[in-house]
């Protein structure tokens, strides 16, 4: 939901620079705190207090520099796909008010932060939204950009201890990636991201590392209580990749849904690969022993115009779903037919296409002709179940089949791309 925001926002370097400048200003002043929270409140009260400079990175980061709070608010209002979030806005307002009671006074920043963190014990969505505002403000102008994520600074962020900050940070990570495409370099910024945070409501989705793929960096968010040196980070990234791939393999290999654990999955995969290889060997043995008929009758190919329509149901034999698309119409590329014959249901209205087929055969390249014959045969042979085609069919099929082989064999110039 919040993720909709970054996707909808353009980014600009201008914004980045402004953000950086604002950032520096921010760091210089204790004032930041107030403006920080001003942003928060600004979302609801459209107060434009001290916020201009910081609004750039605001909720609608990348809107371009100088966004007013109002415009930000507008944007945020537009981008509220999540009804839950909408409902939560008022709560955020409460937070704001809670803060407001602290006043824009010069309470110690920590206190303010704590106030915020205490009061924002709200649903994660809200918290995320709230934090988002802050988080954006934080990030704006920060040369941190990506580096801060990667650097894993242990130092606590002075300015923000907002609950559920991690979520927003995570969201922001992806945002930032899109926005600050130019910001690199180490960040000596004090404002970093909290790795360990979140007393209170850590949401469920704060469970993963966010990996934003970029040519330069891969940003990873450390979970609470996890080591943050570069080696462990790389390890974690690697592990995530591996688990991702294992999941994909789980989809590929049938019957793997119940198996959890790497070892079991690997065993299953190994078994499956072995069985597939054995199947290939078996089928090639079968092909070696089977004897295709070799009486040739080219005329049959073009003479065979009539094909009784035949509707057969071919149960899928482990075929890809795309094979389900079968139609009686012959394709220019008859290989498709062979391919499509590998499977599923075929309603055949062959008679309609015979003329087309003949036509196509005359037009098509010689290579395709032999394949075309397979079309007819595959249409009706398909998987093993279809073994007894109707008699007239069989004759014609065989004729076509032979013709195909004739053509193939006589096409001596047919070179295998080997």
């Amino acid at each position: 939901m919040n993720r909709a925001l970054p996707e909808m926002l353009p980014c600009s370097d201008m914004t980045v620079l402004q953000r950086q400048r604002a950032r520096l200003k921010w760091q210089a002043e204790q004032f930041q705190q107030q403006s920080y929270f001003c942003e928060l409140s600004g979302v609801f009260t459209s107060q434009n207090v001290h916020v201009q400079g910081f609004q750039q990175g605001g909720l609608v980061s990348g809107c371009g520099g100088g966004d007013s709070v109002l415009s930000n608010m507008e944007m945020t209002r537009q981008l509220k796909p999540d009804p839950g979030l909408e409902a939560a806005w008022p709560e955020l307002g409460k937070v704001d008010m809670g803060f407001g009671s602290c006043g824009y006074g010069n309470g110690p920043s920590f206190d303010m932060n704590h106030a915020i963190s205490r009061t924002s014990s709200c649903p994660p969505a809200v918290a995320a939204a709230a934090v988002e505002v802050k988080g954006n403000a934080e990030k704006m102008g920060s040369a941190v950009g990506r580096e801060s994520f990667k650097k894993r600074k242990v130092e606590k962020l002075q300015n923000s201890k907002v609950v559920a900050e991690d979520e927003s940070k995570r969201i922001k990570a992806s945002e930032e990636e899109e926005e600050e495409s130019k910001i690199t370099g180490p960040n000596t910024n004090k404002i970093t991201n909290h790795k360990k945070e979140n007393s209170g409501d850590t949401s469920k989705d704060n469970s993963k590392v966010s990996e934003v793929q970029k040519p330069d960096y891969i940003h990873v968010r450390a979970r609470r209580g996890q080591a943050t040196d570069s080696h462990s980070l790389a390890e974690r990234v690697r592990r995530e990749k591996i688990s991702e791939r294992m999941k994909y393999l789980q989809d590929l290999v049938p019957g793997c849904n119940k198996i959890t654990g790497k070892a079991g999955m690997l065993d299953e995969i190994i078994n499956y690969v072995q069985s597939l290889q054995r199947q290939v060997e078996f089928l090639s043995m079968k092909l070696a022993t089977v004897n295709p008929r070799l009486d040739f009758n080219i005329d049959n190919l073009y003479a065979k115009e009539e094909f009784p329509s035949c509707t057969t149901n071919f149960p899928t034999v482990g075929m890809a779903p795309e094979m389900a698309n079968h139609s009686p119409y012959l394709q220019f590329n008859p290989i498709q037919q062979v391919v499509s014959g590998c499977g599923v249901e075929m309603g055949m209205g062959m008679g309609m296409n015979s003329s087309d087929m003949a036509l196509r055969r005359t037009i098509s390249a010689p290579v395709s002709i032999p394949d075309a014959s397979f079309l007819n045969t595959t249409c009706f042979t398909g998987p093993q179940q279809q073994i007894q085609p109707s008699a007239p069919w069989e004759v014609e099929l065989q004729n076509l089949y032979n013709v195909a082989f004739t053509d193939t064999i006589e096409e001596s110039d047919l070179k295998m791309e080997m």
Partner: protein, 169 residues
């Protein structure tokens, strides 16, 4: 229900085309009716090689396993001893290259299982199964395995269809 939507350049069609051509070539070489069991076995070997080759060619060099398969097929019996030596050295080169390019993780892996398990025993088995898998870390190995499985299923499908075609007679 539309065959027109079938992709003529899909893996399946590419493989089917190639394999069919190879098959007809093989069939043309010898009349099948006069096959003794030994000849049948020879044909079987040739057909299997043709199948693997067709599949590897359909994938070209995009995948490590296809490259390994092609390499294997090219350097098979004629220069067997020399070929295996050359292959081992090339595998080592690949390993070192991968180690230098890749992350430090790869280095750790290639030094054996002292530090890391790297998938353990099963991964080793998988490496043996998937052509060209020896020089890969687990991450890439899983990638290659996924693609390899996909291609194998395609191969099985097409071959089964063709076998059914044949067996019609």
């Amino acid at each position: 229900m539309d065959l027109q939507n079938m992709n003529p350049s899909s893996l399946k069609s590419r493989f089917a085309t190639r394999f069919l051509r190879a098959l007809t070539k093989i069939n043309a070489q010898k009349p099948i009716s006069s096959s003794s069991s030994r000849e049948i076995f020879q044909r079987y070997r040739r057909i299997k090689v043709a199948a693997d080759k067709s599949m590897a060619y359909s994938v070209r060099s995009r995948r490590s396993w296809s490259r390994a398969t092609l390499w294997r097929l090219r350097t098979r019996s004629p220069r067997s001893r020399l070929a295996t030596l050359a292959r081992r050295s090339s595998v080592k080169t690949r390993t070192t290259r991968a180690a230098s390019h890749g992350a430090t993780v790869v280095d750790r892996k290639s030094h054996g299982k002292e530090n890391k398990e790297d998938g353990g025993v099963e991964a080793e088995e998988l490496r043996e199964l998937v052509p060209g898998g020896e020089a890969m870390d687990l991450c890439n190995l899983l990638d290659e395995t996924a693609h390899y499985i996909k291609c194998l299923t395609t191969q099985v499908q097409v071959m089964r269809t063709i076998a059914n075609l044949y067996s019609l007679h």
